[in-house]
Amino acid sequence: MADINVLEKEAHLSDHGDHHDDHHGDKYQSSFVDRYVFSQDHKTIAKQFLITGMMWAVIGSAMSIIFRIQLGYPDADISWLQPLLGGWIQIDPLTGVGKLDPQFYYALVTMHGTILVFFVLTAGLSGTFSNLLIPLQCGARDMASPMLNMLSYWFFFLAGAVLFISLFLNTGPFSGGWTGYPPLSGLPQASDGSKAGATLWILSLVFFVVSVLLGGINYITTVINMRTKGMHMFRLPLTIWAFLVTAILGLLSFPVLASGFFMLTFDRVLGTSFFLNEIFVAGEALTTRVGGSAILYQHLFWFLGHPEVYIIILPAMGLVSEVLSVHSRKPIFGYKAMVFSILAIGVLSFLVWAHHMYMTGMNPFIANIFILFTLIIAVPSAVKVFNWIATIWGGNIRINSASLFSIGFVSMFISGGLTGIFLGNAAIDIQQHDTYFVVAHFHIVMGVAAFFGMFAGIYHWFPRLYGRFMNETLGKIHFWGTIVGAYAIFGPMHYLGMAGVPRRYYSFAGFDSFSEFASMNEFITIAAIVTFAFQILFVVNFFYSMYKGKKQTEMNPWKATSLEWTAPVDCGHGNWEGEIPQVHRWPYDFGRHGRDFIPQTEPLAEGEVDGGH
């Protein structure tokens, strides 16, 4: 018995010893700069990621509105945009009609993709919620290295600053598409956007990779090493599982993207030809730039690019699982199946990258292997969908903004996932490749769905972030506006794509076969503008609620079981006063033994079996 006491004491000491180096109570964040700017508190860093991400979301979506105006109203006079876009609006001296510069149209499309994929749905989503929830739900006082965590945010900020500066270049920001395929990106003389704009784009993304790696190292280390007593892996909420696998994916795939960027920079600066071969620019052959392969870049890019879509969607899945369970007052259906699905998706995501490259002339037999793995991913994805539906089935559902957005996520994920099965087949992809069908597919499945997961997370954890609630009425208006709007935008795009309308075209004026879609394009543009307005409503609600929202009076307002609700509402750096709570059970004990919920901190009763097993 004495031995047990000694061991417990040791465990208890190490419990705090690990954290002690980096925390000195509130004294440590005494100045304004330490507290709000270069803060090392994971909760503050989460807010920094969220608000920076929101800022980028507004910029990135506003860009899409501008190019949607071009697509919906190609003949309209848009000289009224000149105060904002300056020289990028070309005004015809005879008629006075203002037009969007085609070069800038491509720059807008490129920036929209880069910003939304990396800055909003990677940094803004996983950066925010991994930071907020990993220490709080695992029961740690902060990340393994708060310093690296702070650097992770500031590298992200730097990446954003560099990209932002590139918007104001004389030659315009990078315009070769968010994938940055060479030779367009590899030769500065290829286009205006490939000059300084491309250099800054690469630099920005290299900083971004550093940010993701620093963040990811911290997330993984914290989850594996710094869980509180009793929190073994199968007692972790699904959010943490999702963040863990997301971080592992990022850690393994972003360096490969970095390798592609280094080689691209060599091609741009040092005159090498990694990705260049037999190129003509302005009618002149570049005789010294031979031997490389542009397809090689595509392999390196998509080796990140495909895991990247799971880096985006897995955190959203984790958030939705948690929110659905809490607001249905039911345990998550098939907890272990959910965990193994996340792991399976993580492994498979590395084996499917070439399904983005069916049209590169690859051997059809090789394509078959990628088709097989792509379709196999549908299995764990479907397991998750069935489990979410089974979780809310017969639940005592609270209809609020968070649960509505979670249900909306499931709807979007099904709609977008189904078209993925089409596109995963090379035979169909050859027809649909580079059409609006692809645009519709990925926007629904990883754009809108990930946003829905993020919104669910924000509405649900807003009290944890700011000690107040967001306005529910505005939240519900936001939900209905967004789900109807998103389907109105992307639904019709499937038809455009099936009719063969290509993506990334500035104008269809020269194609009679597509002229019949003018009214449909106009409809999509109107839907996009209306949906954008609903997002502004959300931003207003967010900042209004931060200062004037209903105050959080009880520690655990949603009656959830997990640890983040056991810390005081206005907890400082270190999260818990006194000892870190211990965990005795899995996080989904809802409706058990006739009780509404049992927190993870409550010891198991005599003879009681932990729910997760």
Binding site: A11, S145, L251, L252, P255, T272, F274, L296
Partner: protein, 192 residues
């Protein structure tokens, strides 16, 4: 009792050590990407073969000796034999700098053979691999220098558990770039 044992088990490794190990995974991915691309491009043809300059073999000996000295320095530190620690660490730092100098000499040697970064895919890849490794080595040298300065400063707080952890992390990283170089050398050797 079982739960307590489990607790001790998961805390066995220091979080910072664990973080270093997983960041190495990330570096391995970077170099795997480079070397995979190398194999693919070589198979595509248009490939200029050139022998490895002798400096790269000298540098291999130097970096191995460097790892050995750093390891001995670390052991001396653990045994609280600070004089030997200072001595061995200084030798290690010198060898590390010598390694970088030799790598650069090797590159100049190739230039004498009219082989430059843009000459052919093979030379571009060569610079990419050796250069990326050298950058990782320079990061390691920065860490070696930090410990070296701290070791010779008066009233140093170096002789603490925290200092030992830093040395352990530095040595682990250095052994990693050492093994990485052995891998790259072997790779380039077999690709010849």
């Amino acid at each position: 009792m079982e739960m307590v044992a489990r607790q001790n088990k998961i805390r066995r490794i220091h979080p910072k050590k664990f973080a270093l190990w997983i960041s190495m995974l990330s570096m391995i991915m970077l170099f795997s990407a480079f070397t995979s691309a190398y194999i693919v491009q070589k198979a595509a043809g248009d490939w200029l073969q050139f022998p490895l300059p002798v400096e790269f073999f000298y540098s291999t000996g130097v970096i191995l000796a460097c790892s050995l000295f750093l390891h001995m320095a670390y052991k001396s530190f653990v045994n609280k034999n600070y004089l030997y620690y200072q001595l061995f660490w200084s030798v290690g730092l010198f060898l590390a700098l010598l390694f970088v100098a030799l790598q650069y000499q090797g590159w100049l040697h190739l230039n004498e053979w009219e082989i430059f970064v843009h000459t052919n895919q093979s030379s571009s890849f060569f610079v990419m691999l050796v250069g990326a490794h050298a950058l990782h080595v320079l990061g390691g040298i920065a860490a070696l220098m930090t410990s070296w300065i701290l070791a010779f400063r008066k009233n140093t707080k170096e002789w603490s558990d925290k200092g030992q952890l830093r040395l352990e992390l530095t040595c682990t990283y250095w052994h990693f770039v050492d093994v990485l170089w052995l891998y790259l050398l072997a790779f380039l050797w077999f690709q010849q």
